[in-house]
């Protein structure tokens, strides 16, 4: 018990921001594209559908937290699946996490190149960013979570900007509501699931939480808030650009914020400030991804009873930095990434949400068989 206690370092507030920040910024800049492409004028309805679809994931996480208190999924997966299968399971899961980290990282650099810098060499920019991310994820979960918590005003700024951008909103642009077959909306919802991929961190993060009883309400709160914001944003952007207009842009939300006219604003464009607020938040997000990836990898070859793996996560972190740095160099163009975004969606969904659900089913089966052998 002492071992677990030692690592319960996240207060409910920090835990909340650990979940909130990554999920808020992960798909923030381009998520309206999916709904607009798949559903059309009422593409914003995909968000509630996706929200409803991800609530069970939180429930699964809650179940695991109750069942294996103080353990990360990397630790309890081998208990459920056995050593070899558990190892494979973890490896697959972590590769999913790695995938979305790389994709997100590339989006962030792409955004920087799109609106802030032109000629700086990509090599240098990525090196700087990877270095900056490594610097803080090196110091462990508390520092990473504190940073996320301190940057909360930036997320407030994002929210306010989205509300301000309603100034050009037209009701006729968001009509009709409904009218497509249910399948279309379901499809849109499923394909929009990627918005919530970072929620998968909950499977690892609960092990660090100080008060387990608050994990479920807090994650639901974070989830709900983000869904609400996304929903509002989606309605707003459709009302301003129309569904067809959204698809013109690579980052619709960025252009959306650029349409704001504030005559008394110090800067001529809100858009770039918006971009920077998002950028700073995404820095925090990448550090969170990095930390959990490294921590998960460190726990891979774990003997039961140790919290830390045979290798310290800090060593893995550096190794990870090199891998991600390399991977970023291999994606030359953001358009190529977007062209293959569909496969990212599918693979990510299967690995990050599909696997835990599978694990949950296995766990239920195990309990069921265990009961049967006990009774019979």
């Amino acid at each position: 018990m002492k071992r677990i206690n030692k690592h319960k370092v996240l207060s409910p507030g920090l835990f909340f921001f650990l979940l909130f920040t990554p999920s808020l910024v992960f798909a923030f800049m381009f998520f309206p594209l999916t709904g607009a492409q798949l559903i059309g004028a009422d593409g914003y309805l995909a968000i509630p559908v996706a929200f409803a679809l991800t609530v069970p994931i939180t429930l699964v996480a809650q179940y695991f937290t109750a069942q294996y208190p103080g353990l990360t999924m990397i630790e309890y997966a081998p208990f459920i699946l056995g050593k070899t299968l558990g190892f494979l399971y973890n490896l697959l899961y972590l590769s999913g996490l790695l995938l979305i980290t790389i994709v997100f990282f590339r989006e962030v650099t792409g955004m920087a190149y799109g609106f802030l810098i032109d000629r700086a060499p990509f090599l240098f920019v990525t090196l700087l960013m990877v270095g900056a991310v490594l610097y803080i994820s090196y110091y462990g979960i508390t520092s990473v979570a504190r940073l996320a918590s301190f940057l909360f005003p930036a997320s407030l700024f994002l929210g306010v900007t989205i509300l301000l951008a309603f100034q050009n909103w037209q009701l006729l642009n968001i009509l009709p509501i409904g009218g497509e077959p249910v399948g279309t909306y379901l499809n849109g919802g499923v394909q929009s699931l990627y918005i919530f991929y970072p929620f998968t961190l909950i499977f690892q993060a609960t092990a660090f939480a100080d008060r387990r009883e608050k994990v479920f309400p807090l994650s639901l709160l974070a989830h709900g808030l983000i869904s609400l914001l996304y929903f509002l944003n989606s309605i707003g952007i459709t009302g301003v650009f129309t569904a067809e207009g959204i698809t013109r842009y690579l980052w619709p939300n960025m252009e959306y914020s650029r349409t704001i006219d504030l005559p008394f604003f110090l800067f001529e464009e809100v858009g770039l400030v918006f971009n920077i607020a998002w950028g700073v938040l995404s820095y925090s997000t990448i550090t969170i991804f990095f930390f959990f990836l490294a921590h998960g990898l460190a726990q891979l070859g774990l003997k039961s009873g140790d919290f830390h793996g045979p290798v310290s996560y800090q060593k893995i972190l550096i190794f990870l930095g090199v891998i991600i740095f390399g991977a970023l160099q291999l994606i030359p163009d953001l358009n190529i990434l977007r062209a293959h975004f569909r496969s990212v969606q599918i693979i990510g969904g299967l690995l990050l949400f599909g696997l835990p659900v599978l694990l949950f089913l296995c766990s239920l089966l195990r309990v069921y068989f265990w009961r049967r052998t006990q009774n019979g």
């Binding site: 507030g13 803080i136 520092s143 940073l147 920077i276």
Partner: protein, 500 residues
């Protein structure tokens, strides 16, 4: 030890310094020597406080053996009423007291050495500290005298639970350090931790509390002050009442306060004296001032050199017009002016009062005008750097303003490299660094990170005093309520958000 050698022993220990005074007395057949260091002792009182009572005493005693002359049972009662006294047997101990300003009475026969405390060195009266001036509030600051300093605190807090614990640090200086806290407020872990760190110090000399600050800080390689230093007694008192620990160092007017958060460093006691509206407003102004001081030069470089699209068109054209035909790129100009201002600042500190105003005029007006006219430095750059420099000193804390001064340069370089993006990355890195810091177990970014909703009522908008029923949870005081006696345990079981 034979009593004859006592005097001799003392002599070997201390030598024969110039300021050591020996007065040989021969009273009622006893040969006595009064030893003291001249500057440390109130010399004019020696006759009245030492010699006269001694005379009376020696006249009364009869039949005591010479050896037990000053033993405990048989000590001149007149001394006890006069000052603090001690009876020593060990000559080494006696030397230490002598060096602290005690008067020793050495007799050629007795094996005890009575010591009387008669401190009398010159002191500075408490005056308003120049670095932390306020318009409202007491105009008193700490002095170099430890006793006086603790008295200043005692005059505020008349509570028997005010603890003052003594420690001596420094092999040679033997500097006295006082740990002050309220026993029922400060968390015992914190007090233990402070003790632990102070005990671990191995150094020969402590000349200023700055030495201690460097030695007991949580993180040595950081630019942020992780310990707050102040010369204001009201600040220290307020800190003690929040459950923090004050460390007073002899010969240093700066008192150290631990733990500290970044939230503390832009606050001034005035915020509490001027009512909550004005207090909050002043705090916000200071916060904005500090942010301007750090960010403005970097932002200027980034906006004008790399990302001009953010600036309003007319401002952009005006800056471009003013900069036409100037030889240096903006970043060079900014660095040049900023560095020049640092030098001016440093010289202004040392300039004699009478010359200082002339220096200000020469450097500020003449030089500024001339550089623009000569086409060396463009005027927008001057404006930016001067605004940034002035706003730097809107904050009441000197230590943190040094940190901002240094960080400003980092941000300028970041901006020059990658524009607004570089500025954001550098700022995020600085924040990230701050997020890894803690001061005596308290997160440096509290109460924002970790978010402590209850403690946010003091950052930066402060609650009115009549609503402030509870202490800030940031410093984990044992007793949360300001008036009642709700214990921390009860509170923490209800409100979990206050833990890190």
């Amino acid at each position: 030890m034979p009593p004859e050698s006592l005097s001799h022993e003392l002599q070997t220990l201390i030598g024969n310094p110039w300021d050591l005074t020996r007065r040989n007395l021969c009273l009622n057949g006893q040969r006595l020597e009064v030893l003291y260091l001249r500057g440390l002792v109130k010399e004019e009182r020696i006759d009245q406080a030492v010699i006269r009572p001694l005379q009376d005493f020696l006249a009364t005693i009869e039949g005591t053996s010479d050896q037990d002359l000053f033993s405990t049972d048989n000590f001149p009662p007149a001394f006890r009423t006069a000052t603090e006294t001690r009876i020593l047997q060990n000559p080494k101990q006696a030397t230490e007291l002598l060096l602290e300003g005690w008067v020793l009475l050495v007799s050629n026969k007795a094996k005890f050495i009575p010591a009387l405390y008669l401190p009398g060195w010159t002191k500075r009266p408490p005056s308003e500290p120049p670095g932390e001036k306020t318009l409202r509030g007491p105009r008193e600051g700490f002095t170099e005298d430890l006793l006086e300093n603790i008295t200043l605190i005692r005059r505020w807090i008349k509570d028997p639970r005010l603890r003052v614990e003594e420690k001596t640090v420094g092999k040679r200086t033997k500097t006295k350090i006082l740990l002050t806290f309220l026993a029922d407020l400060a968390s015992p872990e914190l007090v233990r931790e402070v003790h632990k760190r102070l005990d671990a110090i191995e150094i020969d000399a402590i000349l200023e509390s700055g030495y201690l600050e460097e030695l007991i800080t949580d993180e040595r390689l950081t630019i942020f002050p992780l310990i707050q230093a102040t010369e204001r007694s009201d600040k220290v008192t307020a800190a003690l009442l929040e459950g923090r620990v004050a460390i007073l160092v002899d010969k240093s007017p700066s008192v150290l306060l631990v733990p500290v958060t970044i939230n503390e460093l832009y606050q001034s006691p005035e915020d509490y004296y001027l009512g909550y509206w004005l207090g909050s407003l002043l705090r916000i102004i200071r916060l904005i001032g500090n942010n301007l001081a750090i960010l403005l030069p970097g932002l200027y470089v980034a906006l004008v050199q790399v990302n001009p699209e953010l600036l309003p068109s007319h401002l952009l054209l005006n800056i471009a017009g003013l900069r036409a035909n100037f030889p240096f790129p903006i970043v060079v100009e900014v660095l040049f002016v900023a560095f020049a201002v640092e030098i001016f600042y440093e010289s202004a500190l040392r300039l004699p009062q009478s010359v200082a105003s002339v220096g200000g005029v020469v450097s500020g007006i003449v030089l500024g005008y001339a550089t623009v006219q000569a086409g060396i430095i463009s005027s927008p750059t001057l404006v930016v750097i001067i605004v940034s420099t002035i706003s730097l000193y809107s904050g009441p804390n000197y230590d943190v303003s040094i940190a901002w001064r240094v960080l400003k340069y980092l941000l300028i370089l970041g901006s020059a490299l990658l524009g607004v993006f570089g500025l954001a990355v550098t700022a995020a890195l600085i924040l990230a660094h701050a997020a890894t810091l803690q001061s005596f177990g308290v997160s440096y970014l509290a109460p924002w990170a970790p978010l402590q909703p209850a403690a946010l009522s003091d950052a930066p908008v402060r609650k009115p005093l009549w609503l402030k029923k509870r202490r800030l949870s940031t410093y984990r005081p044992q007793e949360m309520s300001r008036q009642g006696d709700t214990k921390q345990e009860d509170v923490s079981s209800r409100k979990g958000d206050e833990k890190d």
